[in-house]
């Protein structure tokens, strides 16, 4: 009963197959029963240098689940002459690189359009003064993305080191495209701001939601100590903003949506509303997935919704 250590055995030969085609690729030599999947990946890379470990997915079955880098071969039942499947995930790019492109881009692009460049507005660019609302909106937009950049650098802990390169183009198109679309309207010479009451009330809501979102990020960071792979149910901590965990699995997305709704009300701008909705759709998909995975992993998971309290 339980695990007991056998002596370390040589795994003389390990056969590697291509997960996409099912065909035999090569054999690896010199691994041990205590070697990990990461060792397997490094060994593969020795034969094909372009396949760095982050680009490989190793499986026991051709269409099976991905194995973890830390999995030990002996525990997986792998012996000499066993088969493993490797999938090439394509060119990868680091998460941090992606996030900087996705967040710095919108921030700088918005600030550029805020200057009312000739390229977007022609000669009429400076035909009317910039309203207070437009100034505040530029401030909020910048604040939001600056916060994201700082969080990427200092707060978030990433579970995967890299992501597919194609995602960079897809995501940047989304972020930069919408930035240009919203910025064009809010900074337009013919932009009509709402009443000051609406402006300030929405600004307050925006800042509150930004703080809420940050609070959740901090709580999630503290949930998993560095280097650990332990998964835990998130609960509210001493910060009152984290009480939202009692209502939803992903309050960070709830607050984020709140920020963009506030921004829309602040600017009374339909394109901003479209951006809020598009973001909500994507975040709802992620939240529902996360919620499902929480419920699957934890039998005692509390009664919560995924992203909208009582609704979704």
């Amino acid at each position: 009963p339980g695990t007991h250590w056998r002596e370390v055995m040589e795994i003389e030969k390990l056969d590697i197959y291509n997960a996409k085609s099912g065909k035999f690729v090569t054999s690896l030599y010199g691994l041990k029963s205590t070697s990990t999947i990461l060792d397997v990946k490094k060994s593969v890379q020795q034969q094909k240098t372009v396949l760095h470990p982050g680009r490989q997915e190793v499986r026991l079955e051709q269409k099976g689940k991905s194995l973890q880098d830390s999995d030990v071969l002996q525990k997986l039942g792998i012996r000499s002459d066993s088969k493993l499947y490797v999938k090439d995930l394509g060119p990868q790019i680091g998460w941090k690189t992606v996030f900087f492109a996705e967040y710095a881009g919108p921030m700088l692009l918005y600030l550029w359009i805020y200057q009312r460049p000739w390229l977007f507005y022609g000669d009429k660019g400076h035909s009317s003064p910039i309203s207070l609302c437009t100034h505040i909106a530029a401030g909020c937009w910048t604040f939001h993305y600056a916060k994201r950049l700082l969080e990427t650098q200092f707060v978030h802990r990433f579970s995967h080191g890299t992501m597919p390169l194609f995602n960079l183009f897809k995501n940047c198109t989304y972020y930069w495209g919408f930035t240009a679309y919203v910025a064009y309207h809010v900074n337009h010479p013919l932009f009509t701001p709402p009443s000051n009451l609406q402006l300030y009330a929405a600004l307050a809501a925006f800042l509150l939601c930004e703080f809420g979102n940050f609070s959740i990020h901090m709580a999630l960071r503290n949930l998993r100590p560095p280097g650990s792979k332990e998964r835990k149910i998130p609960y509210p901590d001493s910060n009152p903003m984290t009480q939202l965990f009692n209502a939803v699995s992903c309050p960070n997305y709830t607050y984020e949506f709140g920020s963009w709704v506030a921004f829309t009300v602040m600017t009374q701008c339909l394109p901003a509303g479209m951006f809020a909705l598009a973001g909500f759709y994507q975040m709802a998909v992620w939240a529902l997935g996360k919620h499902r995975s929480y419920k699957k992993d934890f039998k005692n998971y509390p009664q919560r919704k995924a992203i909208l309290p009582f609704l979704l």
Partner: protein, 235 residues
């Protein structure tokens, strides 16, 4: 109840089939009408008949294309197989061309491209609807199936091109009338310039869309008819 246990279809299934059969039949008849009137007019007046095409059959096209929106619902409710997204793209694309670009601009209605476009659309539908009619009752006539999965090869590119011509020639008209466009300032701080959207479609989406569509039909053809059926004949 007993009948169901014996394997007879439920009343609901039968009614569903009748509905689908009637739907496809109605559409088929509509397009037969369009083709018949267009051919008769052409046989009588030659190319001069093209100018009056919209006047003669536009109303029937309008009816058929309006009813075609039901195809999205058919997909959504599972009455027909096939993806909802595909149905939306097909019906929506045609809808914009017809309802916005043709019905929305009188000067477009008398152009010869309308004759060619209606002709191509009708020919495609004259093959598609009989195929579906038979499929409702799980019948497949190999000739109809072959037509359905082959005739797109000349007709889809032609359709795309004629639609492109309509769009291109409509741009200056919509620039002038400002129809479907929204200008600043307004309460919702929203601007929309329809001609710019049309230009962007032609510049960035026209060829990729045509490529994707053709590729999709090509794969469907292989699935249905087997790889390059002509190769078997000449092998």
């Amino acid at each position: 109840m007993q009948a169901e246990e014996l394997g007879w279809p439920t009343k609901r299934e039968s009614l569903k089939k009748v509905y689908l059969f009637l739907y496809n039949l109605w559409q088929f008849v509509g397009f037969i009408y369009v083709i018949s009137v267009m051919s008769t007019r052409y046989l009588r007046d030659g190319p001069e008949s093209m100018e009056g095409t919209y006047e003669a059959v536009g109303w029937m096209m309008h009816l058929c294309l309006m009813t075609q929106f039901l195809e999205v619902l058919h997909s959504l409710t599972g009455y027909t197989k096939g993806s909802v997204f595909e149905a939306i793209v097909q019906v929506g694309g045609r809808g914009i061309i017809f309802f916005c670009l043709i019905e929305g601009e009188e000067r477009m209605q008398t152009k010869p491209v309308i004759f060619y476009l209606f002709l191509v659309w009708s020919l495609i539908e004259l093959v598609r609807y009989p195929y579906y009619l038979l499929r409702v009752y799980d019948v497949e006539l190999s000739f109809i199936t072959w037509l359905r999965y082959t005739i797109w090869i000349p007709l889809y590119p032609l359709g795309f091109i004629f639609e492109g011509v309509v769009i291109l020639r409509d741009i200056p008209y919509f620039d002038e009338t400002g129809k479907y466009s929204v200008a600043l300032p307004n309460k919702w701080n929203f601007a929309f310039h329809f001609p710019t959207l049309l230009r962007c479609y032609l510049l960035f989406f026209f060829f990729p869309a045509m490529y994707k569509m053709m590729n999709h039909m090509y794969h469907q053809r292989i699935k249905k008819l087997g790889p390059t059926s002509w190769k078997k004949k000449f092998a």
